[in-house]
Symmetry: D3
Subunit: 320 residues, 6 copies
């Protein structure tokens, strides 16, 4: 038996996020706040903060921006030793304006031609996957390029072959591909242990709507997944397993920055899932997603103690 | 026929706004955020962002602060070629503390003796008005000094004489004059195409209160205006025309900075008005005013596309 | 008769407060906002801003941080001429993360070994107390060390002996001592003119709960205090006097920073109390506490005019 | 005769510049300062600040970053009405770390795939060139892509055909092309009125070194240019004309940010050149380049008065 | 005999200083740094930091900006109890761009119509002057308005009548008056104990130039002053007394902000002068002026210990 | 044979550094910049950036400040898995004012009672030392407390016993102990492979002065060290080995922040030393120390490529 030194390994693109401070417009701000984020890296960070051993694999250029991305993850305890370093290429950027109604937050992507989008299966040392108990990836990675889609496909196989459980977060992005493209590429990959999907994506990409529990069950069957987590925004989630249904509740919260809340959800779920406790998975997932809304940047900084205290409603407003 | 290269020209004082960042007090902040604003300039900016060709006329000193004001407007596409440059004088300042209840935002004016307040009719090349389809001014300009009031009076005549339509925004400011003074100076000027008035100003300055539609109609008749727009804050507005009444609705919003919302309203209204579509005017006006609340500074940065998307309720919270 | 040149003198520890800007985490922020605060100093500042003559006594090291604390109080008009300057020692720190639900604000204390905690009765020139009409202290000071507790005990006696009225704010801090320790040390000190206590502390430290008016009356009797102010958070307060009960109402507010709200309450109460008007005391106290929530930092910057206008509901949202 | 409403039109790529504040590293800074710059836009801004009518042509995406670039130029009075707006594409970025010895400032380019680099000759309305007295471009534009090189070639012809004088700044960038490529593309374009070249580029790209006056003369002859300005860094410049040589001196200066100094030089030179006064051109050019070193960002903000006062040595350190 | 509770009282205008951070231009900066300063207030602060008891008298409006000025002085230990509070009026502003060669720092004054400039002799309680050992004023105050000039004249008499020594700092400002006006107003006032004058002002205002020691002696005689301090910038100073001459040396320094250096010089000189030690006065004055160059803002924050250590050359670069 | 997965392990205290931005005073700044630093951690970071595998051992409290310290090191690639986590205690602080002459930078230590200073030998798993090729510590660690001194003593033995080479940096701090105490504690520990000592410390602590090469040789003999590196500030260094002397040169530099330059020197030296190349060690050490002066914070961010390019004088001022 191999030593599984990583609880979870994730694979994807991590970008710089540039945001005007406060409620300023991109056209207006004299400075941009700089954050690092990307769906799978956010999951790895969320898990590391909860105390799990996580690793992130991605492709970064050998320049200060590439190093900035990797050190932001290292700082949180995520293992970046398997990163693929490219001699050329750029770090993808997304510009984010945070705003309330009726304006709404807005993203301008500038990720085309990133080093990450040129990741190829042969660049990854698949044997590293034998270190991991679990492998996680999102649909975003598959949307970046044909070689990225192929890398995702192969990664899921390599992980399973080495005895790791696997999960996919649909994470549909309309700026990257159409619903049809997404469904065609993703559907064959979803016979995994765990799929995360929002109710919106279930409808938009897979044409499924109706009672959440039924949607989740249908998707599970269609995909051949062992478990499907259907998230319902502020109303919680339903989890459809082989012979049981779980329901997660929403949480009252005050939003500072909602980006990364879905990834925090995944991290919280995997935390419980890998301990073999789906009840805990559902509870942690919802709490992590709510907690994330209160923190600026893509990462969820909650510790397991934070989440436990929150869930125990011991989180009084000021602890002195 | 003259070439109308400006859709709208506005006339007034534009100031520096100095604000402590966040919720700090003026007595406390180590830095002040610097913005540029003034009622008529805000209208010109709002229109330029919506895609109209607008110009602003005012009086600025030839110093870095005067240039700062003019370049802030240029940056937004407002034509400042008709600005009156003064060898002496200062740029007016207003200090703004933004605060929530029970404190409330607070303005400290420091605009006395500004170059703007010394504007005289003979300093303006009235022939420029033949370039404009519409002229807009607010009661604030008339309140600044006797020569400013005279300039406003003459400007409305010069504009009409050159075939431009005209509008006045009452915009009563209790720090600048009394209700009596305001009524005495403004009332003779209001036989224009369009008057904007808040329900508060209708009551305070003109002693009119009651059902909004009736107030608007009475004011229209008293003033001899073709159309009166009575704004009702978060409850929308009523527009009284010669033979029709329009009603605008309020919008749900989250306030970052409400200064300039009234000017955004005017810009939105003029946008539709100059297209000959009062329904669009009412809808855009309300949307612009709501949108403005989400942006720091005096200007409304919304584009016509933003407003259309907002009105079409396509403004989901994060567009990726 | 002595000249009472101070309306109120307070005694306690004043610290640096280091906070990550915005909603950032302590682990994340590149800069910390620096504020000065401490329960009794906050009360002295609140009173000085309201127009009373106040003084603060504490122990500070002769270094730039000690001077920073004292000059922050001087700037507000608090007399710091009686501060005890120590050749050695540190200024205590508290790190504060401000956050909304479900995260909640969080304090990390780093106040052990502060110069303040080594204050001894013999370091204070008690004759200075003859300058004061009133002496105020909180339970926090008594919790810092044995010598601080002894100083508090003696201060209350010295003040009374010199004809000053006295007040104590329970202000229980679970990070500094246990409920038992707090009760044992504080109970003998509470036969004063005025005790401030939250409903939470009444229950936690003194085991009293039930109808607020009854709790206040029982505590007053048990302690031998002339008057007890029991505060109920957003629901206001009850004040139990020898033969009368007062009730204070809550206020609608939008929270920026709630630290110091309790101290603002005390300042507002003492303002009315020292004018001999308990109705005003109750009204000002509630208004001050609400106002404080809108300001960053520990101090309440409201003037008496601010509070009067607020109470007269003249605080329109933007005063121009 | 056409109305020449532009003194100078320039053509090139304008980028966002992202810089860590102070001397921080890109890997370290929590915020990036945002500036707008690009060789030809910098020249247009420099001229506009000196009081000339300038325009800039480039290709920008229709998004907030594209608008930011264009409004930064508008703010300075540069005419951007001829900008080519693209439905797709990105704004190029360059990351700049400013540092002193022995570290040295460092640029990380992220400009590949920019909307600007896809500019094609057929996208430009060449008739606009009849508005201009002079056309200026740099070798950087030619280096961006084959279609950009072709656009530069054609622009020089179109300008000449419409009676405008023309200038080229060699501006060799080793990150964009090799010396050989640069020479092959640029050499056929240099039979213009005016070429700017650094002594370094003369050596690296054209293999010319030796006495500056001889280098300038040889280059002038080889290229078939009417005038060659050879700049020598802090030691000034030599200008070789058909029958005369001018020498410019260096200036004492304190460097804040040297990026854009070469473009400020060009702007200063063109200012005098277009007034027909080469002596003034040489003097203004050197003064502008020196002045630029004292200002952050790519633009030179000096006015003609500033430069005159500086040259008259009336620029005392503090003018009160 | 009165109790002299103030070592020095000064009289003048104190303003807000608004500066773009770093080397930015006023037209460019998104924020302005806010400082408080004015010649006589700077002297009072310098003295208070050195351990002397100082007071400042001026006229401030009752608004947040007026309070900001007074609390900035209180924070430093300057007594502001004699400030004249005006119901109306503004706080003067000066905008400062700090820059190195060849640009040079630049001030834009916006002080016209300030509350300070309307100070009248009858607003001051001259009996307060009996509290002071010394009275200091600068020529700037006399330049503000006729009533200010009259106030300065009377203040010097009132001070002398109450047994205080007096000093005047010429401090000529070309933006406020002409050399002729300055000489006409100031010359009759200079028969005081101590006059400070720069070599530049001696030449510009009084037409005196040549060997510094001779200039100082001539001025002393002309004015009827007991002592004249002629400052020579980085070359030190000469002091001409009844029967002795002192020479002060310059100091090596690195400039951060030179504004206020002259006032720091005066504070240092008065410190020694009031101890009766002109040698110390000369030494402290030069050291204070040099020290001030290293600190941002108008005030000199050096303590007596700092100056002693500096003079003892014990100021190693990093003291750990 | 053990696998030496660490090239170097270091042991010491790592603190928060709080600095007023720019040249502000601690009493003045509204914000403090937050950095992490400590002599041995700085060495570990410097080595990691150069590409070596380094680890840092210290004692940190389990709170956000403790985690901040550890993640700042993780971010740079330093292994923190051997950190001793304490349930109680504080993170030491040092306040740093950066200033030029004549003021000079100044440190206020607030490190007493830190968790780090309570480190005990029995808390460390000495077997971890078998992972390291080299162990480094500074005299600061020995100065913190008796238990820290004992830990240093034992660490040197444990390292040697496990086959690691060892080095000590004298790093005398007068605020922590007297020269006598330092000599008494350190002298017995210096029979190591490598000792770093400044010429100042050689004189102050060990009474050695004179020609640097002779001082280095005498110290080496006295201490029983194999090699002594005597650093001479801007004049370079001499290295005395068993049978050879090396001389290092100084570098021209522009200082942003000199804190950590000595640690950068050590990192550069160890880099070459562990490659067995003392010439490279001397060259890298001097280059690293110079480079560090240009970067804010305690760490040296140079990569091996940076240093090579610098040494090859290829570091042109702007590389585009």
């Amino acid at each position: 038996m191999t030593d599984r030194c990583w609880d979870v390994v994730t694979l994807g693109e991590t970008m710089l996020r540039l945001s005007p401070p406060g409620a300023q417009r991109l056209e207006q701000a004299a400075q941009f706040d700089v954050y690092v984020g990307g769906s799978e890296a956010n999951v790895a960070v969320g898990l590391a903060r909860l105390g799990m051993r996580s690793a992130w694999i991605g492709r970064l250029p050998k320049n200060p921006l590439g190093r900035r991305v990797s050190s932001a993850l290292s700082a949180q305890g995520v293992d970046v030793s398997a990163v693929v370093w490219a001699d050329e290429g750029r770090v993808g950027i997304y510009y984010l304006e945070v705003a309330g109604p009726p304006r709404g937050s807005r993203v301008v992507y500038d990720r085309q031609g990133s080093a990450a989008s040129e990741l190829k299966p042969e660049e990854i040392d698949w044997d590293l996957f034998s270190r991991a108990r679990h492998f996680h990836v999102s649909g975003i990675t598959a949307a970046l390029s044909a070689s990225c889609a192929e890398t995702v496909r192969q990664a899921l196989i390599e992980a399973r072959n080495r005895g790791a459980s696997t999960s996919v977060d649909i994470n549909y992005r309309s700026r990257l591909w159409s619903p049809d493209q997404a469904r065609r590429v993703l559907q064959p990959l979803l016979n995994v242990d765990l799929v995360f999907c929002t109710a919106d994506d279930a409808r938009t990409v897979f044409g499924e709507q109706g009672a959440p529990s039924e949607v989740a069950a249908r998707l599970r069957e269609d995909w051949g997944a062992k478990m499907v987590v259907l998230t319902l925004g502020s109303e919680g989630a339903v989890v459809s397993g082989a012979d049981r249904l779980w329901r997660g509740r929403g949480h009252e919260l005050q939003t500072v920055d909602r980006v990364g809340a879905g990834d925090a959800y995944v991290a919280g779920f995997l935390y419980g899932y890998l301990k073999g406790d789906i009840d805990q998975a559902v509870a942690y997932a919802g709490a992590m997603a709510a907690w994330k809304h209160t923190e600026p940047g893509d990462f969820c900084w909650a510790s397991a103690t934070d989440i436990e205290m929150m869930l125990a409603e011991e989180a009084a407003e000021i602890r002195r």
